[in-house]
């Protein structure tokens, strides 16, 4: 994706905000992202919308252009549409937006996401989720649901790797350390210990209550553009070096490798596409709605030894000061699970770190290369994106190509 770069991000705090409003949050996140890029809505030609799960009616508003009106873009944008693959939507939205930019179909794209899970009735959300991404014909009649899906994966992962309940709880604790440095995180003010987690009630064995993600409100905006425009606008930018993906199943009951999922295949594709190896990754932002999901991804991505994912993360390697800072916003487990937006928040955090805008408490020094990992539904897919910071003015053109272009211009 040589002709697509990120130039701005915006985010509202995640958590329970009953006084906020869905459309209000979307518009606010959009304006924040555009301001971050030094732009206004008038600069946008394409809107890519990430769905919400709390309300079918609000989602219909997304599909049918309400955001265009709210941003004052009637007859000003070329196209607006929704991309949806559950938790991996942001990865696929970037894949789509980036492809449009590379094809010359778009020049400035605004990607928007908002969710009201934290303020919606919990039981209604659990019920709607129990047949949203779970096969109605084959698994709903047995009582399948998302905590059970997380538990079935966790149980098998622990069985195959010998990871202990303490190891799994340790991942949640590691994530909380980052959340405490993130003013947008749901649990920025609450400490968490392994003892607390293991003493919390058993919800879905082996998952304790404090190992289940907490549903949250949240909103994120991302602005993408072309390297040429970014250079002309004198913007800092982040380029997409390569991507990989693997859709492994629909029904969790049909996944034949619960402790690996689609990660090894997606990782190989992304490393091939980028020319990177695991050692090139300086920062990882990987979907973590349950601890095992993150550990499995780390192993498949080759970021730690096979079977050691939980111990690697729980041991502090990804925590502040660790060898591979990861999920630096606190992840879904500590920043809040904003539905489809959990992955969007991780992506935004990766871009934010590469742009050097993560604030004094958690900004990583000299971070240039990040890996973004996402997954949706019953962990039906693994999506990998390699991102790299671009020096202002070079506009996202890789150094070798920039040199070539300059030479061409001179002759």
């Amino acid at each position: 994706m040589d002709n697509a770069v990120f130039v701005g991000i915006g985010e509202l705090p995640s958590g329970r905000y009953p006084d906020r409003n869905f459309m209000g949050d979307l518009v606010a996140a959009g304006h924040l992202a555009l301001k971050d890029a030094g732009l206004t809505p008038r600069d946008v030609d394409t809107l890519v919308l990430i769905p919400c799960l709390h309300s079918f009616i609000d989602q219909a508003d997304l599909v049918f252009s309400r955001v265009v009106e709210e941003l004052g873009l009637n007859k000003a944008v070329k196209s607006q549409f929704m991309v949806h693959s559950g938790g991996s939507t942001s990865d696929n939205a970037v894949r789509v937006a980036g492809s449009l930019l590379c094809a010359g179909e778009a020049e400035t794209v605004l990607i928007l996401q908002a969710e009201r899970w934290g303020s919606a009735p919990v039981e209604a959300m659990i019920d709607s989720l129990s047949f949203n991404g779970i096969p109605l014909d084959w698994e709903v009649p047995a009582g399948q649901n998302f905590n059970a899906i997380g538990a079935l994966i966790t149980a098998r992962y622990m069985h195959e790797t010998g990871s202990t309940p303490e190891d799994m709880a340790g991942i949640c604790v590691a994530l909380r350390k980052w959340a405490k440095l993130n003013p947008n995180a749901m649990y920025r003010d609450k400490t968490l210990t392994i003892e607390q987690i293991l003493a919390s009630k058993m919800v879905c064995e082996p998952l304790h209550a404090m190992e289940c993600p907490m549903m949250a409100d949240g909103a994120v905006g991302l602005v993408m553009s072309t390297p040429e425009l970014a250079a002309r606008r004198d913007q800092e930018s982040v380029r997409i070096v390569g991507t990989g993906g693997c859709v492994s199943h629909y029904s969790l009951g049909q996944e034949t490798d619960l402790a690996r999922l689609g990660w090894p295949k997606a990782a190989e594709m992304a490393y091939d596409a980028s020319g990177w190896g695991p050692d090139d990754v300086q920062l990882a932002e990987v979907y973590d709605s349950y601890a095992a999901v993150m550990a499995i991804a780390f192993e498949g991505l080759g970021l730690c030894k096979l079977g050691e994912g939980a111990r690697f993360i729980a041991g502090g390697e990804t925590s502040p000061g660790g060898s591979l800072p990861s999920n630096t916003n606190g992840g879904l487990l500590s920043a809040g699970h904003t539905g489809v937006g959990g992955g969007t928040a991780l992506l935004a955090e990766g871009v934010r770190q590469l742009l050097g805008r993560a604030g004094p408490e958690r900004q990583l020094p000299d971070v240039r290369r990040a890996l973004i990992g996402g997954t949706g539904g019953s962990y039906m897919d693994a999506q990998v994106m390699m991102l790299e910071r671009v020096a202002r003015g070079t506009g996202g053109v890789p150094p070798t190509k920039a040199a070539g272009a300059a030479k061409g211009a001179a002759t």
């Binding site: 014909d137 009649p141 919800v203």
Partner: protein, 138 residues
């Protein structure tokens, strides 16, 4: 009309676990599909499974079940790998003490033709059966 689910459910109600086989290439497929995922033939037939397999993963649900299943908690879900080489999500029959402590991952399980509990009468799949498995009878 949902020919696949209706036929599969009929089997369960009659105490049989059905596996779909492709009439062209002979391969089994689970869950039932409209075309063979291997050779793409649209000619498939249901046959009764042997009912034996191993438990691939399991969980016991104590809280946060969908409301239609809330009054069945605690209940256990497992992914079962059948001897025929296909797998499915199933409910696990509780042991005599009401728990599931003797179930083991990679351990043997068998199809239970008579569910110990009726299907939930609530929610989007009210009245629809599911497969149940238990530990091998000695």
């Amino acid at each position: 009309m949902n020919q696949l689910a209706d036929r599969y459910d009929e089997g369960l109600v009659g105490g049989k676990l059905l596996i779909q086989y492709c009439d062209a290439c002979g391969r089994p497929t689970m869950y039932p599909k409209w075309r063979c995922p291997s050779c793409f033939s649209d000619s498939l037939s249901f046959r009764e499974a042997q009912g034996t397999g191993t438990l691939y993963s399991l969980t016991v649900q104590y809280f946060t079940a969908p409301t239609a299943f809330a009054d069945q908690q605690p209940y256990a879900l497992g992914i079962v790998r059948l001897t025929e080489g296909v797998q499915l999500l199933a409910r696990l029959v509780p042991e005599e003490d009401g728990g599931w402590s003797r179930y083991r991952m990679d351990g043997p399980v068998e199809f239970c033709p008579v569910p110990p509990q009726p299907a939930t009468d609530k929610g989007p799949t009210a009245g629809r059966p599911c497969a149940w498995f238990w530990l091998p009878r000695t």
